[in-house]
């Protein structure tokens, strides 16, 4: 009796185990996170990142996924805030992502990178330019945009060459990005023998910067270099033009956002800034750009950089034949990748080997390269 009963039990358990095998989802998809400011003043930049990553993931899934697995995307809002960035990073790690596209603000990317390193998650930032991000020696951190030390050199040289005989003012918004870029530019400018007339900081998030602009006008500043995000720069430009103050305003990569023109209005006209070579003009990017435009979305700014970040990872995984972090990192460091940005490769720190800054100017609500 006992024997038969035990047999029954064993067979039952065996069937249950088999059933469990079939029911349990084999790892259906690889998860990728995108972390950016989805709301607030930098929401347009977040939209660029999210749309870029979504399009790239959709394209890979349509082509059969990565290593035969579908890729799932989780978007989180970091509000461009250092503390919120760490919380967002923990959420993504808890969800089990293997890659994070982001963050976009340097002030968010740097603290989050520590979380990703500890969890063994790869981080590729399409927007953070502060050198510190890759200078911390974290093996899991890469970026597909240039660094502010090179951007600062380009800006500093431009100021010295074109405006060296005029009164130059340098402002920054006190963020890691804004102050870092302003300081790099100032360093270069000073090195070139030009000393700025004003070096000052402003508080970000205010609605009106008329007082700051009035002070600069009073000081007779002819050219103003601003290290900050586009919304504040747009308000500053607008305040200057409202006063009839024809100061030349120059800024960095954060200005590559349509919303700059929406906020600044006609005052945006003539504002200069540096950014990566516009990938929309790359032949490799043409089909992608076409698809974006078909959805009534202009893939400006960081859109295609985010697309490229996903491309780089997917290609590295395919080349390595594994999702294992160490293998993927080794492949990223050792290989070249064909992306919408063209062919790119990384140095040992995770920075682009070739960093190309190009001057753009706002004309009629759009930014165009300076001829």
């Amino acid at each position: 009796m006992l024997g038969v009963s035990s047999m029954h039990r064993i067979i039952t358990v065996a069937f249950v185990a088999l059933a469990a095998l079939f029911i349990c989802p084999a790892r259906a998809e690889v998860l990728v996170g995108v972390s950016a400011a989805m709301t607030g003043r930098l929401a347009w930049i977040g939209e660029q990142g999210q749309r870029g990553a979504e399009m790239a993931v959709a394209d890979f899934n349509a082509a059969g996924g990565v290593l035969g697995q579908q890729v799932g995307l989780i978007a989180v809002d970091d509000f461009c805030d250092p503390e919120q960035a760490v919380v967002a990073a923990r959420k993504l790690v808890a969800d089990g992502v293997v890659l994070v596209i982001g963050h976009y603000c340097s002030g968010a990317s740097i603290p989050a990178s520590k979380v990703y390193e500890a969890a063994g998650v790869l981080q590729i930032s399409p927007g953070s330019t502060n050198p510190q991000l890759t200078e911390q020696g974290r093996a899991n951190v890469f970026r597909v945009i240039g660094r502010d030390d090179t951007q600062g050199i380009v800006a500093g040289n431009h100021l010295a060459d074109r405006w060296g005989d005029k009164k130059v003012a340098i402002l920054h918004d006190t963020t890691i990005y804004g102050k870092g870029l302003a300081d790099e530019t100032r360093k270069r400018l000073n090195k070139r023998g030009v000393i700025e007339a004003v070096y000052d900081a402003y508080t970000p998030g205010k609605d009106d910067y008329s007082a700051e602009v009035a002070a600069l006008q009073a000081a007779g500043i002819a050219v103003l270099y601003v290290g900050g995000y586009h919304a504040e720069v747009a308000l500053i430009v607008r305040a200057a033009r409202d006063r009839g103050y024809a100061v030349q305003i120059i800024s960095g990569d954060a200005l590559a956002t349509e919303e700059f023109a929406l906020i600044a209005g006609p005052a945006a006209e003539g504002t200069l800034f540096t950014f990566s070579a516009d990938p929309r003009r790359n032949p490799e990017a043409a089909p992608v750009v076409e698809r974006f435009r078909a959805e009534n979305f202009e893939p400006a700014g960081y859109t295609l950089l985010s697309y490229a970040a996903v491309q780089v990872w997917a290609q590295a995984v395919e080349k390595a034949g594994s999702l294992e972090l160490a293998t993927v990192i080794a492949t990223l460091r050792g290989q070249e990748f064909d992306t919408v940005l063209g062919s790119i490769d990384f140095d040992d720190k995770g920075d682009l080997s070739t960093q190309n800054w190009v001057w753009y100017v706002w004309r009629s609500g759009e930014y165009v390269p300076v001829e």
């Binding site: 929401a43 009106d208 008329s210 919304a231 607008r238």
Partner: protein, 821 residues
């Protein structure tokens, strides 16, 4: 009839009777046991398994019913899989239990009912599972739509955000301008105009913002609406907001208009149509309602299952109770039969023992055994039980025969013992020694008349049974024992000790002068045998022999004085028999006498002379004896002695001993001269001694009646001659002796003498002293040259001799000088 069976047959009959009752009891017990076993078997085989299976089934069904609601509440696929698998397992188990129950209780209507309920449950659960899968799909669809709603809302609000920012900026500027009193009026107006323009531009954006928020909120609420009625209620405001948004889109900034319209279309899709959120929620509610219905059905089925099981269990319980009662009845009857049989068996045993064993067997066996004990105790007259035809009767007959035979044997034995005893007494009486036998307690058992008359004539207490100690004490007190005189107690103790540890036979001296030899020996059994022999005659003969032996010894001692001690010893120790025999040996012979003895002693009285001579001879003999000389004979004052027989130390040693003896004698003579002078002998007696060494014949010479131990030969004459040549007080020795002693003894050559019987002259030497004693000898002159030989010892010379020596040497010197001159 019974008589003929004998004890064996009758006992067999009794035991068969008792056993019959025991067999009856066993059979009854066996029957009851089998009946009870049958009932228990029926319960355990049929009823209990089916009842247990039913109960397990019921419990299992309840478990399934309890888990089922969890299926419906599971909101994730993983959770659903988990719950579904758990229910699958429980259901499988339930079906197994059902199969077991069907095996245990075939054909019962309750089982059919249960089976139907289980089938219903299974079907119901499958349906529930499908339903949950559908619900999960619906929920996933709804969540996807909600995500899209969120994305659309954010995107829509993003479009109007820049306008809001500009408006805020304008408002701030206007506030600053209003506050700044110093501002020019035209500048203030411009600021105001800017603000108005901004507000006008902003109004549609703000309305769009509001409407999008309203749509978002309403749709989020819809997603969780609890009834279809609530759903329908929210549709109206949603459609109105949508219409408003469409109206606003025309007023939006041209650059954003296309994107804005896109968002509005997205909202529209989320609000109406198949892919809208309200539709998704409606589907979900329908699924939930269906699920609730199924659960209700589930519970009903479970309850009916439990009820059916309860009926089954109740039936089993009734049957078990009935069987138990039946078993109890059988057990009661069985117990009665067993107890009755046991009582009857006990009763019959008692009757057999009381009526037959006790009265008929044991009483007669007791009489037989009493008879046996009486015979064994020697009482042959004791009454014996009457003979009979059974075993005990025959035993009594045998006992009677045994007793008669025993009486006969006893009488015969007594006669034989008396005869044997008489023969023993006769034998003991016929021996010449006294004989006594004491037992272990030392009491006299047996003695012969010789014993009594030999040891204790006149002692009346010698009857058998008298203690040994008493006998010896009495004899000691009466003075029968020589040893015991004056020490009776001490002697009695010694005697008892010897009696208890007898050893070799020993002799006892009796008071009347007789000697008794007593031999005592312990015998097995602790007694003592004593034999007494009269050895008085033997003892007297032994004493005579001892007296003769003592006389002989005294004689021998006297004889010793007339013989040389060595010869005496040789004879009495038996080494050399006294017989006529001789042999040639090299001996050293010594002669001594007193110079001018006759002249000196002529005037002396005979007694004095004898005394003097004896004194002299005794002294000399003593010295001779000390040096180991054999004294041959005394001839007047002369003594003949020799060395080398009967014992020799070697020729050289014998010669040396002889010369040393001679020197010792001369020295003793000097001492004796002083003594003799004191007793009146003026002229000192001086001794002459001659010594020669040569072969002689030594032995016993004479007739058979009388013999002399002496030496014969020319050497004796030469020794005598040397003695006569020797100056008084000197020792003269021949060359043969000198040759033996020259190393030790200092001598001086005196010249040659002619001896009768010897053809050549004999060289003589005067003995001076032991060289060791010769200190003066070192001053001797000794020169040996060719044709010259001088030997001089001035120290030894007298004055005349010195003069003569000086003249001789002077003459020699003159002649030597003259011839040369």
């Amino acid at each position: 009839m019974l008589e003929r069976l004998g004890i064996r047959g009758r006992l067999l009959l009794a035991f068969f009777g008792i056993s019959a009752f025991a067999v009856l009891a066993t059979a009854a017990a066996l029957y009851a046991f089998l009946q009870v076993g049958d009932v228990v078997d029926r319960i355990t085989r049929d009823r209990v398994p089916s009842a247990l299976a039913s109960l397990q089934l019921s419990r299992q069904a309840e478990r399934v019913a309890a888990i089922a609601p969890a299926v419906l509440t599971s909101t994730s696929k993983a959770r659903h899989n988990e719950v579904s698998a758990a229910i699958g397992v429980e259901m499988t188990r339930l079906e197994e239990l059902l199969a077991a129950l069907k095996g245990a209780a075939l054909g019962t209507p309750a089982v059919a009912e249960i089976e139907a309920a289980v089938l219903g449950l299974r079907r119901n659960l499958d349906a529930l599972d499908d339903l949950v899968a559908t619900r999960l799909a619906v929920v996933a669809r709804k969540e996807g739509l909600l995500r899209r709603l969120s994305a659309t809302t954010i995107a829509g609000q993003r479009l109007v955000a820049s306008g809001i920012l500009v408006m805020n900026s304008r408002l701030a500027q206007w506030r600053a301008a209003a506050a700044d009193a110093s501002l020019a009026p035209d500048r203030s107006a411009a600021v105001m105009a800017d603000l108005v323009q901004a507000i006008a531009a902003y109004i549609p954006q703000q309305r769009a913002h509001q409407e999008m928020s309203a749509v978002n909120d309403a749709l989020v609420r819809t997603a969780d609406a609890s009834t279809p009625g609530d759903l329908a209620l929210t549709l109206f405001p949603l459609r109105r907001s949508l219409a408003a948004l469409e109206a606003i889109s025309a007023e939006i900034d041209v650059k954003l208009q296309v994107r804005f319209r896109q968002r509005v279309d997205e909202f529209k899709a989320l609000i109406d149509g198949e892919k809208s959120i309200p539709k998704a929620r409606q589907d979900e509610l329908a699924v939930l309602a269906q699920g609730e219905k199924l659960l209700g059905e589930n519970n009903r089925l479970s309850r009916s299952l439990t009820a059916a099981v309860d009926r089954l269990v109740a039936a089993a319980d009734r049957e078990i109770t009935a069987s138990g009662l039946e078993a109890a009845v059988v057990q009661r009857y069985g117990t009665g039969v067993v107890l009755g049989s046991a009582f009857l068996s006990l009763l019959s045993s008692v009757l057999v023992v009381w009526l037959y064993v006790d009265r008929s067997l044991l009483a007669r066996l007791g009489a037989v055994s009493q008879g046996m004990f009486a015979i064994a105790g020697g009482n042959f007259r004791a009454p014996l039980p009457a003979a009979g035809r059974d075993e005990i009767g025959r035993m009594a007959e045998a006992l009677r025969l045994f007793r008669d035979t025993a009486v006969e044997v006893e009488e015969k034995n007594l006669r034989e013992v008396a005869e044997a005893r008489q023969r023993l007494v006769d034998a003991i009486e016929s021996i010449s020694e006294g004989f006594a036998l004491y037992d272990g307690q030392d009491r006299l058992v047996l003695s012969n008349s010789r014993y009594r008359e030999l040891l204790y004539a006149g002692l009346e207490e010698m009857t058998p049974g008298t203690i040994f100690e008493h006998i010896v004490r009495r004899s000691a007190e009466r003075g029968y024992i020589k040893d015991a005189e004056g020490r009776v107690e001490e002697w009695v103790a010694e005697r008892l000790s010897r009696h208890r540890n007898p050893g070799d036979p020993w002799v006892q001296r009796r008071g009347d002068g007789r000697w008794i030899m007593i031999g005592e020996r312990r015998i097995t059994g602790g007694g003592t045998v004593a034999v007494y022999s009269d050895i008085t005659e033997l003892k007297q003969r032994e004493e005579n022999l001892a007296e003769k032996s003592a006389a002989l010894e005294a004689l021998s001692n006297k004889l010793a004085k007339y013989l040389a001690p060595q010869v005496y010893k040789s004879i009495f120790s038996g080494r050399q028999d006294v017989r006529i025999a001789s042999q040639r040996k090299k001996l050293t012979i010594c002669f001594s006498d007193i110079a001018g003895f006759t002249e000196t002693t002529d005037k002396m009285e005979s007694e004095d002379l004898t005394q003097l001579l004896n004194h002299y001879l005794t002294e000399m003999s003593k010295i001779a004896s000390d040096h180991g000389a054999t004294i041959d004979k005394y001839v007047g004052d002369a003594i003949l002695m020799f060395f080398g027989d009967p014992e020799t130390r070697g020729v050289k040693e014998d010669a040396l001993a002889c010369v040393e003896m001679a020197l010792a004698m001369q020295k003793r003579m000097t001492d004796l001269a002083e003594i003799w002078r004191d007793i009146g002998i003026e002229t000192p007696l001086r001794c002459r001694i001659g010594i020669h060494t040569d072969y002689c014949t030594v032995g016993n010479f004479g007739s058979e009646d009388r013999m002399d131990y002496t030496i014969i030969g020319g050497a004796v004459n030469l020794a005598s001659r040397l003695e006569q040549e020797a100056p008084p007080g000197a020792v003269l020795i021949s060359y043969e002796t000198f040759a033996q002693v020259k190393d030790t003894i200092a001598c001086v050559e005196l010249g040659h003498i002619q001896v009768r019987g010897i053809a050549y002259p004999v060289a003589t030497y005067r003995v001076l002293d032991l060289k060791a004693n010769m200190v003066a000898a070192r001053s001797a002159v000794r020169t040996v040259l060719p044709h010259l030989r001088v030997e001089a010892e001035p120290e030894l010379m007298s004055a005349d001799e010195r003069d003569q020596a000086a003249n001789a040497l002077r003459d020699v010197l003159d002649r030597l000088c003259h011839k040369l001159g």
